[in-house]
Amino acid sequence: MTMLPILEDFARACNSNARLRQMNRDWSRTIVIRTTDKGESYWLRSENGSIRSGEGPVPDVDLQVEGGEEIIRAVFSGEMSPTEPYNAGDLLVKGRQDDLMRLDIITLLIWGE
């Protein structure tokens, strides 16, 4: 089953959160999400405070997130915070530390507490 609906829900949650829209208004980034076990590739694009999602390869990637489908699914649906799999080495993130931190903060602001 494709993960696209999960990423679409994630984008929708970001876009409906006024605080996140303001935080991300100057954050233009392309994030690629790869499942290491299924070999599938998805993307999130942040621009002008809004986030879009899609499937397949994209150019000019700023942040790359890799992990098993189960973990990726759990992280982007709010069942698991990214910190735990990241610290355990089950979630590999390539890119600038600031962008990684921002992605963490976005997930926590959507699902934290």
Binding site: T83, N87, Q97, D104
Partner: protein, 311 residues
């Protein structure tokens, strides 16, 4: 003489030692940096265990205390647990009790007032100070997301700060500390990025962690007042060169520098044997004779005044 050592993840260039007097006792304190090297800090802590009266943990917070809720930074816990006999403290107990009161003392002493705009570069590590500013009606921006994560989102109310803390801190406390705060040589670097300088320009008072302040320091600080601590002579020269009017440190200036709260906390523990989780802690801190220090940097004399010690 009792001995206190502060093991810091900060730069070795800020190492120093001196003697302080607390509760009528002379206490030798020394600060030993490890340039951000966690392993070195762990070795140092194990070596010092049972050799000194109290150990301060510098350049890292073990506890972030927000509205009575305590969040423990995992990396700091690992460090503190290297010493099993000698108490290890991080300064959060002094910050929680003392910094709230310092702001109120400064208002009572008519040094600051709620007509002034405040930029608190980091509020989650000094919630007491943030609480005092918001409660007293100062228009205050908490810049935690701006200065530690480069997310241009100013927090402007105590309620929002508390909400952010509840959502972010339980997970962020598990992150590698280097992702949250500059350590080692990184502390000495100054950013040439002026993106956030407007927050300084709009503020009358800049407060909070000095490493964040210095990292983002704009060229012009004329007419402004900074409230912070852990400043050295060199820092004072830098601030004077940038035109700062008044520097207030929440802890006393001794031997040319204001000590980190972890040093003060370790000295209090060494002198009294009272630990921060003891119910006597608040009164113990308030009875330690702490006082803020004021340095007027815009006068040619550079005259230093000090607030009255508490008793």
């Amino acid at each position: 003489m009792k001995q206190v050592v502060s093991v810091s993840l900060g730069s070795t260039t800020r190492d120093h030692e001196t003697t302080v007097e607390l509760y009528h006792q002379e206490i030798h304190v020394s600060r030993r940096g490890t340039d951000g090297d966690m392993e070195r800090a762990m070795v140092m802590l194990r070596d010092l265990d049972n050799q000194v009266d109290a150990i301060g943990l510098g350049g890292i917070d073990r506890y972030l205390v927000v509205n009575g809720q305590r969040y423990e930074i995992l990396d700091a816990k690992r460090l503190a647990e290297c010493a099993t006999i000698t108490p290890v403290v991080d300064g959060s107990g002094v910050k929680a009790v003392w910094e709230y009161r310092v702001i109120n003392h400064l208002i009572e002493d008519k040094i600051i007032g709620p007509h002034q705009k405040v930029l608190l570069v980091s509020a989650l590590d000094r919630f007491g100070m943030a609480q005092a500013f918001y409660e007293q009606g100062f228009p205050t921006i908490a810049g935690d997301l701006i200065f530690s994560s480069h997310i241009d989102y100013p927090v402007t109310s105590l309620a929002e700060l508390q909400k952010l803390a509840r959502r972010l801190l339980p997970e962020m406390a598990k992150m590698p500390f280097t992702m949250l705060y500059p350590t080692g040589r990184e502390q000495e670097q100054q950013s040439h990025d002026s993106t956030y300088h407007h927050y300084f320009a709009e503020a009358d008072i800049v407060a909070g962690d000095f490493h964040f302040i210095r990292h983002h320091l704009p060229d012009h600080l004329a007419g402004k007042l900074i409230i912070t601590n852990t400043t050295t002579e060199e820092d004072r020269r830098l601030l004077k060169d940038r035109g700062l009017s008044i520097l207030i440190t929440t802890t006393p200036v001794l031997a040319g520098r204001s000590f980190g709260t972890n040093v003060i906390e370790a000295a209090i523990v060494a002198a009294t044997g009272v630990l921060p989780d003891d119910e006597r802690w608040e009164n113990t801190v308030l009875g330690a004779g702490l006082h803020y220090s004021i340095t007027r940097l815009d006068s040619s004399s550079g005259i230093e005044n000090q607030g009255e010690p508490t008793s």
